[in-house]
């Protein structure tokens, strides 16, 4: 039964946003899901496979889109962005820009920010040559290459090196925090390369590997023990061009000697940072972001940033899709609680 005068706007159509919109709608409240791209799904649309069960992210997105379509209280607006917001006594008046350039107004009583994360610009690491050598790329860009390889395009690699913690756990040039998901997605990516090119030499340069989750440790061990990805403990110092290929210099810290290796592709697991639109959007709703631009929840709450503002997913901190979904559902619960008062 539709509850009158209670409408939520969810900004961002990734796993977190889709889940939040769905659960609010299923509870009988109107939810409007705003997505700036042409399709729903967010970052996971770009991904090949997922951890820890090697499942297709596209299947998850398709399933969610089906469920959203099924729920009459959910309205999905793609290629739509939020231009401005005016605070009212019971919510906000939003001005939206639509896909055809027109604008429209919308009155809402709660907003859920689910704008996700993006990769830090790692060209600051001149020692790795990102932006200088074309075969040095970040993990998200590498997913595109993985897809191309999967479709039989591109040159067969003889060697691929993954650098973890580029920009993360770095008080000097990057961010002090750990971006949480890179150890797992790097293992996934390394495993996929070996699946496609069993003769390729695949290296993962690490400080640690963090696999705390259900099935996570087993996943990484499978990549090391069954797929024979070589893990080397040492943060690489430099990437040098070497006759069209790339030479990596590092220390194997476990045996304690300097090492080097020539590969074709270097993948930088870059720090996950909030998308650029996060802070301005939060400000539109009178909400501050934290030291690194992530949204912060109020003490004792699940997903509340301020009075009528909630958030879920990567815009709060880097998180993997299943947990982004859970956070979306938590945000929905608190919106429903607000609407039920």
């Amino acid at each position: 039964m539709k509850q009158a005068g209670k409408k939520a706007m969810i900004i961002g159509g990734g796993p977190a946003g889709m889940e939040a919109a769905l659960r609010i709608g299923q509870a009988g409240f109107e939810s409007v899901l705003i997505e700036k791209e042409a399709a729903l799904g967010g970052t996971i649309l770009k991904l090949c496979s997922s951890f820890p069960r090697w499942e297709s992210p596209l299947e998850l997105v398709e399933e969610k889109i089906k469920q959203l379509k099924h729920c009459s209280y959910v309205k999905v607006m793609t290629e739509t962005t939020v231009i401005e917001s005016r605070t009212r006594h019971d919510g906000y008046s939003i001005l939206l820009k639509l896909n055809n350039g027109d604008t429209t107004e919308l009155d809402i009583n709660a907003v859920v920010l689910a704008t996700g994360f993006e990769m830090m610009d790692v060209s600051i690491y001149g020692e790795y040559g990102y932006g200088i050598y074309p075969d040095v790329m970040n993990s998200l860009e590498f997913e595109t290459l993985l897809k191309a390889w999967g479709d039989g395009m591109g040159k067969t690699p003889q060697g691929v090196a993954f650098f973890k913690c580029v920009g993360s756990r770095d008080r000097s040039k990057g961010y002090p925090y750990c971006s949480k998901i890179c150890c797992m997605y790097t293992a996934k990516q390394a495993g996929l390369v070996k699946d496609m090119f069993p003769n390729a030499k695949v290296y993962v340069f690490y400080m640690d590997y963090r696999a705390s989750g259900k099935g996570y440790e087993e996943f990484v061990r499978e990549v090391i023990e069954k797929k024979h990805v070589r893990y080397v403990r040492g943060r690489p110092a430099k990437v040098l061009p070497d006759g069209g290929r790339l030479l990596v210099r590092a220390e194997d810290t476990l045996i304690g000697i300097p090492i080097e290796v020539t590969v074709d592709v270097v993948v930088l697991a870059s720090a996950a940072v909030p998308r650029q639109e996060t802070a301005p959007l939060a400000a539109m709703f009178g909400t501050k972001t934290g030291e690194y631009g992530f949204l912060e929840q109020k003490r004792f709450s699940l997903a509340r940033a301020s009075n009528r503002v909630f958030f879920a997913g990567g815009c709060g901190f880097p998180v993997e899709a299943p947990f982004a979904q859970q956070q979306g559902a938590s945000a929905a619960v608190e919106v429903i609680e607000l609407f039920s008062q």
């Binding site: 690491y125 001149g126 020692e127 040559g129 200088i132 040098l240 061009p241």
Partner: protein
């Protein structure tokens, strides 16, 4: 017309006099007056910081005090080694009154502040600017393919140098480009040449110099351009030794960037000191119609 305080350091008066000479020519064209610091002493060189921290601070505190008496800002230093030590001391000194001589306390205009400490490359980029540097160019260095070599201390460590990017520096490249030359992309532009050990542990210096020379060669460079007396000496005077059992022909001239600026400004070759380099650059320059 502007005046700057100038700290040449020991090398520029001896083994690297061509760096000093060409710097003077360049500054003359740019209407920058180089006022040498009165009675300056050695910055301590590698030995100072390696053996005695307090001595090095003391030596450079004296230099800074001498410089500050001139009441000219900034203090420009062509040698990156001297720059590193002077800037380091500059940063650490909280007050300098303790090293100023008693007599100076009674001066009518006692020095108030320590000057900004800059290396020469930094001064040219940040204070003079590329546009101004391009103005006096009479002979564009067209056709020259150069490897700009920054060595260690022009940009490192970043907290001290506060200049350019330590991993992919571009300042010297930009200067050479406005002079009309092409610069190559290469991997060792800021790797160590081994200079500190050319006398006492030559094999180490040779190994590192060889890597710099080889990678420059592989990148298509016809000459290496430097901003440091130690790098210049190491790569130039030892190239015949390094290249003895390697295929490093033709030799790569190792030229101070100020010499190239002076050349582009139209100064005659004999004044630029290009002839005093071990590996003769004149053959290369003649081939390009520049000499």
């Amino acid at each position: 017309m502007m005046n700057v305080a100038y700290f040449p350091g020991c090398s520029l008066h001896t083994v690297s006099s061509e760096y000093d000479k060409s710097t003077h020519l360049v500054c003359e064209s740019l209407e920058v007056g180089l006022k040498e610091v009165e009675d300056w002493n050695c910055c301590g060189a590698t030995a100072g910081h390696s053996m005695d921290h307090e001595l090095t601070m003391g030596l450079n505190a004296r230099n800074l005090a001498q410089a500050s008496l001139m009441n000219i800002d900034p203090l420009v230093i062509p040698c990156p080694g001297c720059f590193n030590r002077l800037k380091n001391t500059n940063i650490r000194l909280k007050t300098f009154s303790s090293v100023v001589r008693e007599e100076e306390r009674s001066m009518k205009n006692p020095p108030q502040e320590l000057p900004r400490v800059m290396n020469l490359l930094q001064f040219l980029i940040e204070v003079i600017g590329l546009e101004r540097i391009a103005e006096p160019v009479k002979i564009p260095l067209k056709g020259l393919k150069l490897a700009a070599y920054y060595g260690c201390l022009t940009t490192r460590p970043r907290k001290v140098a506060e200049f350019d990017d330590p991993e992919q520096p571009v300042s010297m490249d930009r200067i050479l480009n406005v002079l009309g030359a092409e610069t190559v992309l290469w991997s060792h532009k800021a790797e160590c040449c081994g200079g500190p050990f050319i006398t006492s542990e030559l094999s180490i210096a040779l190994d590192l110099s060889r890597q710099v020379l080889e990678t420059a060669r592989h990148s298509g460079a016809e000459a290496i351009v430097v901003a440091c007396p130690m790098c210049q000496l190491s790569l130039d005077s030892r190239q015949v030794v390094v290249g003895h059992d390697q295929v490093l022909q033709p030799r790569l001239p190792i030229i101070y960037f100020t010499q190239l600026i002076a050349l582009a400004y139209g100064f005659p070759i004999r004044r630029t000191g290009l002839k005093s380099l071990f590996i003769n650059p004149l053959t290369l320059l003649a081939k390009k119609g520049l000499a």
